[in-house]
Amino acid sequence: MSVRARKRSRSSTLIVMVPATTLLVSACGGPNRVEQGVVYQDAAECSAQNPEASEQCSSDYQAALAAHPALAPKYVSQEECEADFGGERCEPAPERHSQGSFYMPMMMGYLAGQMFRPAPSPTGAGGIPPLRDGQPPAAPAAASADRAQPLYKSRDDQRTFRTAGNAPVAERSGPVSVSRDLLQPRAAGLSRRGGFGATATRLGGTLGG
């Protein structure tokens, strides 16, 4: 009698499901240059921590605020916007659709890039960390829109500052290390979530067969 071909897998292991809860979404990593930046709620907070750089604070804040309407995620209704960002944290966007205005979250802070590096405050509190190359801090450069961008906070996480593209940046004001990608503001576009799954909610239970 001839030897039969085996009908079952040679081995069977799991690498992700054991234990069941370890996996899921690991942060999208990758070799990404890290840069220094700062995060503040507004110009006043920045100036309070960097009194010698209040002019820079103001111009970065204004640059972010100016970029905000173009970059913020847009929603077709205030309700959809507030579902993501919380009650009374949305405002009309410049764009209009046939039924009315688009809505966008209010700007809750801003991120300014590496070129923003005022001298550490004399007390040493709240200042910018020493530069990696050891050079003395340069005079603040002129503000420009592409190195200050608006930040937002989602409804279910009121601590974390996020970019318009929903990337988390920091949980408190002050200096941050961020990937270079984040310093390049990108518009969020018209964003919607949860457009699949309604039938499942209606039917309940399991959908496989």
Partner: protein, 389 residues
């Protein structure tokens, strides 16, 4: 083909818990049941089940281009016209499929008969491919089954091979309705196999899927280029994000054209083209509920799952119906095929359906389901099997 009692492994529940198989008991009733098992002989597996599975798969695939080329057939299958081109493009671009399961009425001697194809969102994959495999290995090692016992189950091996050969953008995202533990278990098992195949993978609860500028996006706003979804295509086309499919460049598993083969309208189409085929049951399109159903026929909506909304009239004229949410047509009727009936320990009847997996166009293994009624549902027990002459 025999149904045999066998002592369960002492620690099977702990093993289930360790792998997230938390749906082994559904609503307090056992779903995974290893107090019994089925024995097949080699001839049954290789000459009948494996052959029939691959033959039927080939016939089904041959239907796809014919349906896509015919507005009349697309209409009969209730495919929304807005998406006809979308489906056709996915077929002509050879977008690969991953897997499917066909349910067969098989008694161990007569040719297996096709009850239906679950070719879009088949489940019971984890218990078929992984948990059942471990059951066999451990019961053989414990001496409870003969050393020569085998199992028709190369499911995991073939899944990993299939993922290795798929040409898809990475990361490959996996998504399902997150609060269904059964759907999540099946989805994570596939994610696991894809990871073992070397793909970069991510999981995303379906309600977190976003749309941005006409493209599907993840929670960080980044575009999703490849997405496995354990969610029926017919639901997706009908929901809010349906039109986004038309602008998005996302590649899906299963691909859009699989919608056609999970539609029970393929049953009459197969019969019309292969009348008398030994593995097919006579089937026709049907006027639906409210019209009479002759003895010996079963009526099903073309879009339905888990045995819902099936109406059955056996040869004696007795009627059996399962209610459910799939109340819209069209409908088909299929010749009633009695399922093999076994007797449980307490003498009550047990009806058995053989689920036969197809992975990468090959027959890959079995998952057996039992029910106390002749209609298999999502609560029907899963029972392991082995092969031994």
């Amino acid at each position: 083909m025999q149904r045999r009692p066998l002592a369960p492994r002492a620690d099977w529940q702990a093993q289930a818990a360790d792998t997230g198989f938390d749906y082994h008991t559904i609503d307090g009733a056992p779903y995974w049941d290893e107090s019994v098992c089925y024995q097949f002989d080699w001839r049954q597996i290789e000459d009948q089940l494996e052959t029939a599975t691959e033959d039927l798969h080939e016939l089904a695939l041959a239907l796809v281009p014919e349906i896509l080329a015919s507005e009349e057939l697309l209409t009969r299958l209730a495919v929304p016209p807005l998406y006809w081109d979308y489906l056709a493009r996915s077929w002509s671009a050879h977008e690969p499929q991953l897997y499917g399961r066909m349910d067969l009425a098989y008694d161990g001697s007569h040719p297996p008969k096709l009850l239906e194809l679950n070719y879009d969102t088949p489940t019971s994959l984890f218990e078929s491919g992984f948990f059942q495999w471990n059951w066999l290995e451990q019961q053989v090692a414990a001496g409870a089954l003969p050393a020569a016992a085998d199992q028709f189950n190369s499911i995991q091996e073939k899944l990993i091979e299939a993922f290795e050969s798929l040409v898809l953008p990475e990361p490959l995202w996996f998504s399902c309705v997150d609060d269904s533990s059964e759907d999540r278990g099946n989805t994570l098992y596939l994610l696991d196999c894809a990871t073992q195949a070397g793909l970069v993978t991510r999981y995303l609860p379906l309600d977190q899927l976003a749309e941005r500028d006409g493209q599907f996006a993840g929670p960080d706003g980044a575009a999703i280029h490849a997405l496995f979804k354990l969610y029926p295509w017919e639901f997706m086309l009908a929901e809010e994000f349906g039109p986004v499919l038309l602008t998005s460049s996302t590649r899906f598993l299963e691909p859009p054209w699989k919608l056609l083969l999970s539609n029970k309208g393929v049953l009459p189409l197969l019969w019309e083209r292969h009348r008398g085929h030994p593995n097919l049951l006579e089937a026709h399109f049907d006027a639906g509920p409210g019209t009479s159903l002759a003895p010996g026929w079963v009526r099903k909506p073309v879009y339905s799952r888990e045995g819902a909304n099936i109406e059955m009239r056996n040869l004696a004229g007795q009627q059996l119906a399962v209610s459910g949410p799939y109340t819209e047509g069209p409908w088909v009727r299929q010749r009633f095929q009695p399922l093999p009936r076994f007797d449980a320990a307490d003498g009550s009847p047990v009806y058995t359906v053989v689920g036969s997996w197809v992975i990468g166009d090959r027959a890959a293994g079995l998952g057996i389901r039992e029910d106390a009624t002749p209609i298999t549902r999502n609560t029907s027990r899963f029972v392991p099997h082995f092969i031994h002459d």
